[in-house]
């Protein structure tokens, strides 16, 4: 048993840190996030060249076929650098497609495009009165003239404006089903949903009698459920790792500030109140690291408790990121609360990250279910 990154994994992570320090400093993050899509195609292609856009995808579509631990190791660095853009949306959608055994022919090309950093896709799950549980999805998919007909509304869809395909989760003959919609399909309308985290764009999507060919059906029934679950778990691990990287940045930045900022003729880091806040941050960050990497490992090994491990990570990391962010600002005082200080970028991502893929309350309920199942 060895619960730490292997030499290769550590090198991969170090390389990512170096690459992003160079290619994606916070000045660039701020420029990119001010654009409408928060996508910098040049940066994306460069990231794809590093292999990050298809890290867990099959080799035949240009992926690296690595596991979730390698994914987490790199995602942690993307979180530390606050990389803007559709990383999680692509990861979610591509994992879903790749997890479907008998997927339509067009999917190969799309996966290859995602791995190459040239194309994008996303998943449309949330509805106005649903939560992140797929069972709560109500949107009807009807069979019509040998094809499919879509009506309804999805909300807070990540990066839908740049996605070539939206993988829409709905109900077909009372079963869960996933269909692929193109933004320019007739009857599809997108509307920006400006939200707290400018580094990842959210949109509402309306579907008015959208007619689709039969080959747009990605999966239905148990196959759809399994693929969606696997994809959401993978994307959640990616998110937790990003949040972890952000927390690590906040901790280091706050400690550094506490060593240099002086008040009452002493570094503020010599005050017990500040020291103890930093110590609490350290505990939270290290614990979040344990939870995240274990979830990644359990997922990549298809351990029986993988779903539980992912929910535990999301519970812990959601709360820990918020608490680390709060303490980070408090240690900085007023300056940490300004637009100019990069803390705000992380703080807002922490907040958006709490919501994404289900908040701590949502996952706590999952963990309880799993505990009650395990303990007879």
């Amino acid at each position: 048993m060895e619960f730490e990154l292997s030499e290769t994994q550590r090198m991969m992570q170090q390389a990512a840190r170096g690459f992003l320090a160079d290619q994606c400093p916070s000045t660039r993050v701020r420029q990119i996030m001010e654009t409408e899509t928060a996508l910098d195609p040049a940066l994306w292609r460069a990231m794809a060249e590093q292999g990050w856009c298809g890290m867990t995808l099959p080799e035949k579509v240009g992926g690296l076929e690595l596991g979730a631990v390698e994914l987490a190791a790199v995602a942690e660095e993307m979180g530390r650098a606050c990389v803007p853009g559709p990383f999680l949306s692509n990861l979610w959608a591509a994992t879903l497609l790749a997890a479907v055994a008998d997927r339509p022919a067009w999917a190969e090309e799309l996966l290859a495009g995602i791995a190459a950093g040239e194309r994008h896709a996303t998943v449309a799950l949330l509805e106005d009165e649903s939560d992140w549980n797929p069972d709560a999805v109500r949107m009807p998919i009807e069979q019509r003239n040998g094809g499919l007909l879509l009506n309804g509304r999805k909300t807070l869809v990540g990066d839908a404006a740049i996605a070539e395909r939206l993988l829409v989760v709905g109900r077909l003959n009372d079963q869960l089903a996933v269909v692929a919609v193109a933004p320019d399909d007739k009857g599809v309308s997108l509307k920006a949903a400006p939200a707290v985290d400018a580094t990842r764009k959210l949109l509402d999507v309306e579907f008015q009698s959208v007619a689709l060919d039969a080959d747009r059906l990605v999966a239905q029934g148990p196959a759809a459920e399994t693929a969606l679950a696997r994809a959401t778990q993978t994307a959640t691990v990616g998110l937790c790792a990003e949040l972890l990287g952000g927390m690590q940045w906040v901790l280091e930045t706050a400690v550094e500030y506490a060593k240099t900022r002086k008040q009452f003729d002493r570094p503020i880091g010599s005050f017990q109140a500040v020291q103890h806040q930093c110590a609490d941050m350290l505990l939270l960050v290290e614990s979040a690291r344990s939870a995240t990497y274990y979830a990644a490992w359990a997922l990549s090994e298809s351990e029986p408790n993988a779903a539980e491990a992912v929910s535990i990570a999301k519970v812990y990391v959601s709360d820990a990121a918020r608490e680390v962010g709060n303490r980070g600002i408090q240690v900085h005082g007023g300056i940490g609360f300004t637009w100019e200080h990069d803390l705000q970028l992380y703080y807002k991502r922490f907040r958006a990250g709490e919501f994404l893929f289900g908040d701590a309350t949502h996952h706590r309920e999952h963990v309880a279910t799993s505990l009650l199942k395990a303990v007879g």
Binding site: S130, D131, P194, L202, F264, Q330, G334, F337, R351
Partner: protein, 392 residues
Amino acid sequence: MDLNPTPEEQRFRDELRAWLEANMPEPWSGSPTGSESDPAYVAYLRDWQKRLFEGGWAGISWPKQYGGRGCSFIEQAIFHEEMARAGAPEQIGVIGLSLVGPTIIAVGTDEQKKRYLPPLLSGDEIWCQGFSEPNAGSDLASLSTLAVREGDDFVINGQKIWTSFAHFADFCLLLVRTDTEAPKHRGITCLLVDMHTPGIEVRPLRMMSGDSAFNEVFFTDVRVPASQVLGQINQGWTVAITALLNERANLGAGLYAMFRRNLEALVAHTRRERRNGRPLCEDPLVRQKLGQMHAELEVFRLNNLRALTRINKTGMPGPEGSIQKLYWSEFNQRMTRAALEILGPQAQRHDFDGGRWIYGYLRSRGNTIEAGTSEIQRNILAQRVLELPKSY
């Protein structure tokens, strides 16, 4: 103990309520969160302050001779309650009304009182407060903005930060260093400075919540007549303490009204919005959070009422006011967090209720820093109320 209003207090309330019915302005219809960086909104608030003043409703607890109404602190609180109940606009001159005015009343000369208090009350002259500096935050007494005596003037050079309202304020209650040799608490002087004096430059500071409620203020060879000293030269530290005690004591009632509006808006959402087949207000977890927030908010209201009773007897706020500051700043952080948890992911949108929920959440992070950090408030409570030995 009697929480019923006295006959005077009841009369006061009735009279105010009648006046408000006749004099409430149209609700503000411009920028949704009503930011003070919008000049039209500032003009709207100035008009409202003028109307209050002319109706006799400014400076409720101030002596009549300075344009106040000469009422008790209790009536002052009733005023805020009624303003909130009526949904009246906020008071633009809050720094002047809650902090500068009481300080001038406490230590100003008769001339200063006559000159500054009436236009402060009428909203004709807005005040800001120049205390903090980039290197003097929690350690306020280490401030280094320098005032050098030249003839009848002080010449000021330096920089202030976190100066609310500075971009449209007419005057500033400014702390400067006038003796660089003395121990740091003994070389500070408080000046009443005209913000239109040449050499003053105001730059807005953008906050993470997106607005610019604070400013940096730069002073370059700014000449201020020595007659503008408030209190005594080199005794500015005690003036500052008076001002800060008043700040903590006077914020409560207005904040309660804001918190209550937020809670009511949140409750309305929980009735209207459904998740997985039922309204949010029927979810036991949501109900626990609503119950907790309402309980905590009521305790805040009650703490304020007890503090008012005390101040009404002593005539002066004391260090125990730090309890209120600690309480509301941490409560508002819990409250804005609970709101996001209850409302769910839609609440992160800038176009959901005009973005008020996510703005409120972000803005609340400043609460435990501005007007004295929570760490400083706890130090005050420990050392000045509980009389524990000084820690540094």
